[in-house]
Point group: C2
């Protein structure tokens, strides 16, 4: 028996064929290449067809897709801010039409990341676990009491919007407080704004074209002792700690997994982030929470889709949660 | 058929006998009167016995108790910071010994509050709802996808510890950031600290003995245009809004219910709190969230215990979630 999992991002889609144990049989990546609206759905369907062809005579028993946005399980539509035309997009219906008789499950990428990491990654076996994805933006996958959570309309884990400092800044209406200061794009933007302020004429970041500064450049300058980079990085570390603290106090997870492109290089800061979180969080819950770097890298969400697909195979529904 | 619900607080215990529809048949309050440890458990058992006597020939089919602290469903023990000797206290075992053969369920008071308000109060029928209890402290009851949440060790909803401002203050290790600034005790303490700073010699709050100032005094002075009271109250309003925003962005509730002794008088601020929350929260989720004052007053948790008890009656287990 085989299932197909597809991780759809804002710039590419990656599909894989999995066996019943969640081993990858084959894997394929395709760029979105400027596609919008229905054409993105067609790309997803064509990857599903490729996987089906790769499976040969073995039938695909379920397909699961994760999306870079919100999957509303009540309306069976998705919203993906980086895919033009995907506001209430009927992705599930489109895939079902292309793969008749096969169960289709759609979830958000952040939810699939925590499903992947608690299955085969850094948080194996945990029933209360949170994945903080810090890339160009920030999101959070939440597993609590062994369940993924949907909320009223599937908009759970929108952690980039966490309010962590009373001083309201110009970027917040567009990106949210946490994301404005501590995502990859946020860190780069904070560095550019500091350069533009003219207060850091000594900063080694002045050698870059401002628009091209990345969070990695900022971390590099921080290691070289640059004051501007230190100011931006220390603020991000503090906010990562405060955000983790808030999740601990509200949800009492046993583990917080840090992943996405920034963790990566920011994994070096995990001990300091944990120390910061311990200052703020409910103290009993804080002591119970492990902090770990993601182990599945860019495949976390893909494994999560496989887990969801396997949970939806028929007739022998597997309980993997 | 009848069940017993008991709401145990830090200073008193209130028990009631309920019929199958959750109507109160009779109700009884008893002061803790300095009791500690086992004696508090005995008081709870004696209330359960009184309710059983009031039921006459009708057998009690379940007993549920809520505690002012943490109920750990894995170890069946409770932790209540305001009851001396209740750190890993085996309350369930003690009540079961006193009521042989009757199912006993223990939960936190904040969880029972949201169970009560979503059953018979301001959030009837909601499956995704949050109760923010602002009294001497701050706690949060969370219902998500129709389930109450336990987390790793029952420490969910410890919202008083929410980190909402980067400037770390002296009170935070003891009470948490949110509670230090926006609970009843926190508001009174902020006012006392401001008076002690000597910067508010014109404040009408100077007429009070500092140790006796309450949050109500602060709200009264705020209405009279007092600058100190305005500063303290505005900070609390902002933090209530930010805390609500964080719950919205993480959990996507359809309603947030505000209760406890401070809401009460602070209900007048709900439109401003909502406005503040809308600035910070994930915008799509924010638009979906109603804000409401609690309707069951001090009986919210008691109704929640009845709901839990009814869910545990046997043989005809009722699904009330």
């Amino acid at each position: 028996m085989a299932v197909t999992g597809i991780d759809l991002g804002g710039t590419k889609a990656c599909g894989a064929l999995f066996d019943a144990h969640g081993n990858i049989i084959c894997k394929e990546s395709r760029l979105l290449d400027g596609r919008t609206g229905k054409a993105v759905g067609e790309l997803v369907c064509s990857i599903a067809a490729e996987m089906s062809a790769s499976a040969g005579s073995e039938p695909i028993e379920a397909v699961s897709v994760c999306v870079p946005g919100i999957a509303n399980a009540k309306t069976d539509t998705v919203w993906a801010p980086n895919i033009a035309g995907w506001e209430q997009y009927p992705l599930k219906q489109q895939i079902e039409a292309a793969t008749p008789g096969v169960p289709v499950v759609i979830e958000s990428d952040r939810t699939c990341c925590i499903l992947g990491e608690t299955w085969k990654g850094a948080a194996q076996g945990a029933e209360n676990a949170v994945f903080i994805v810090v890339g160009t933006g920030i999101g959070m996958g939440i597993l609590i009491d062994g369940h993924i959570i949907n909320g009223h309309a599937g908009i759970t884990g929108a952690a980039g919007w966490l309010a962590l400092n009373m001083l309201y800044e110009d970027d917040y209406p567009q990106f949210g407080c946490f994301e404005s200061n501590a995502s990859g794009n946020g860190i780069a933007r904070c560095a550019r704004n500091a350069l533009a302020s003219g207060n850091y004429s000594e900063s080694i970041l002045n050698k870059y074209v401002p628009e091209k500064i990345t969070a990695s450049d900022v971390f590099g300058a921080y290691e070289a002792g640059d004051a501007l980079a230190a100011s931006v990085t220390e603020k991000a570390i503090k906010m990562w700690g405060m955000a983790a603290a808030n999740v601990i106090s509200l949800l009492n997870p046993e583990i917080i997994v840090w992943g996405g492109g920034i963790f990566g290089p920011a994994v070096q800061f995990l001990p300091r982030i944990k120390e910061e979180a311990m200052r703020w969080a409910q103290p009993v819950a804080a002591k119970q929470t492990r902090f770990a770097a993601a182990q599945l890298g860019s495949d976390a969400a893909l494994y999560g889709t496989a887990r969801l697909a396997l949970m939806n195979t028929s007739p022998h529904k597997i309980t993997l949660l």
